[in-house]
């Protein structure tokens, strides 16, 4: 117990002192998570809308596929993207491997199915009268769909937040594609994994506290927007 309390004290000291390694890991995590969730939303929301609002052959199969993609292990995504961006891969020339951009790409692919599935659920759960109402009032297809998105915006935001939660807390993609380079691609989660394996719990706990604070802050902001 003393050992845990000592680690907690050391962690709070690191936060208070704004240790550079600690601050950089926090910044990198937030940076890659932010851009990857933006990319994931740009891919996932239109995909969810397209599947939810149209009828086509094999629709059920596509939905099952999307559901399955939510459970893909992070290391598998890491492996797949690694294959594409490593020197021998088709995009090897871009020099993306072991950069924050590589983590962004991997995390976006990880979060996109989550955002797409939850966006699809939002559309399917939306009031059936939204689209006919928008259309009878003169909205064209795009205007009516945008009205639908606006009406279910909180579910859409929840989808994006769920995706953010996934990318900010994952280790596999960040480790495999970022390489856990100190001061460059080290994220909160890869730092926690590394420090714990070294027996250095203080930095791990400090980063864990920040990770929890980030999750809490995102949810508080979401609740605030919902009340507004």
């Amino acid at each position: 117990m003393d050992f845990l309390l000592d680690s907690l004290r050391a962690a709070l000291h690191l936060i208070e002192m704004r240790d550079p390694a600690f601050c950089h890991a926090v910044w990198t995590s937030l940076y890659v998570s932010f851009w990857s969730i933006i990319l994931a939303a740009l891919l996932g929301i239109p995909a969810g809308l397209a599947v939810g609002l149209s009828d086509f052959p094999l629709k059920r199969t596509v939905i099952t596929g999307l559901n399955s993609l939510m459970a893909v292990p992070t290391v598998l995504i890491g492996l797949l993207v690694y294959g594409f961006i490593s020197r021998q891969g088709p995009f090897g020339g871009f020099g993306l491997l072991f950069t924050p951009s590589a983590i962004i790409v991997g995390d976006a692919l990880l979060a996109a199915p989550i955002v797409a599935n939850l966006a699809l659920s939002s559309v399917r759960g939306a009031h059936a009268a939204i689209l006919p109402t928008a259309m009878t009032l003169g909205g064209d297809r795009l205007q009516s769909v945008l009205t639908l998105v606006s009406e279910v915006r909180f579910s859409m935001m929840a989808a994006v937040i769920a995706g953010f939660g996934r990318v900010v807390s994952e280790v596999g993609v960040a480790m495999m594609l970022g390489g856990n380079i100190l001061g460059y691609t080290r994220t909160m989660t890869t730092a926690i994994a590394l420090e714990t394996s070294k027996g250095e719990f203080a930095l791990g706990i400090a980063l864990g506290i920040v990770l929890m604070a980030v999750a809490l802050a995102v949810n508080v902001i979401f609740q605030f927007l919902q009340r507004k």
């Binding site: 009268a129 939204i130 109402t133």
Partner: protein, 228 residues
């Protein structure tokens, strides 16, 4: 004179179930028609077809002398001439003003001219000064009046109403009845589905009765049609 609507052998099926089968029907411009019949007789289906929201499975619908092609841009143009008011209207999240402004906004009508029309429409339904109120916080009758104002502000060529007097208080019913009774004199064609035409009628009203998707009484013929 060319009727506003002409239906030729219009049918609608959902899978094996035939919900509408109308050999022929004409609706004059500027007329007031009651559409009656028991629940499930096809009233809402017919109104949805007349509002260009639902494509018939068979037959042809002519609007203002032209056959409806049921294609994207043509449909949007047609929908902007006709408005359907649903039995339980869906009000968008926002104020009364933003709801009434919706149809104008999608037509690119903003600013002073739009505000003047919105104020006039709200006055017609007895909701002057309600513009800043949250639409969904209103009573059922007030919500129905907002939906009516949202349709009236567009000055539609035809106004289709699906049981607008159901589930509203007496005061709102009086207001709605008064407003829609005056519309044909302004040239607006009104088709109103109702269980009780006697409560809303005027002297020149015409009656269409549907039973099991078929017309059992047509406008102006003054007799019950022989059921097929």
């Amino acid at each position: 004179m060319e009727p506003l609507y002409r239906l030729e052998a219009v049918g609608k099926r959902y899978g094996e179930k035939e919900v509408l089968d109308i050999p022929g029907l004409e609706i004059r411009e500027g007329s007031f028609h009651f559409l009656t019949g028991p629940n499930g007789s096809g009233k809402t289906t017919l109104l949805s077809i007349l509002a260009f929201l639902l494509r018939p499975t068979s037959g042809a619908l002519y609007y203002a002398g032209r056959r409806v092609e049921w294609k994207g841009e043509t449909l949007v143009a047609l929908r902007r001439e006709v408005t359907l008011l649903h039995q339980s209207p869906y009000l968008f999240d926002g104020t009364v003003f933003s709801n009434v402004a919706y149809g104008l906004k999608v037509r690119g009508i903003d600013g002073g001219a739009g505000k003047e029309r919105i104020d006039k429409a709200l006055k017609m339904v007895g909701l002057e000064g309600f513009g800043d109120r949250r639409a969904r916080a209103l009573s059922g009758g007030e919500m129905q009046r907002v939906a009516l104002a949202r349709a009236l502000v567009l000055a539609p060529r035809a106004l289709l109403l699906d049981e607008p007097l159901a589930n509203v208080d007496r005061e709102s019913a009086e207001v709605i009845r008064g407003v829609i009774a005056g519309l044909p004199a302004r040239g607006t064609t009104v088709i109103m589905a109702t269980h009780d035409p006697g409560r809303a009628g005027g002297q020149n009203d015409e009656l269409i009765r549907l039973e099991e998707g078929r017309i059992s009484r047509a406008p102006s013929d003054g007799r019950e049609w022989e059921k097929r």
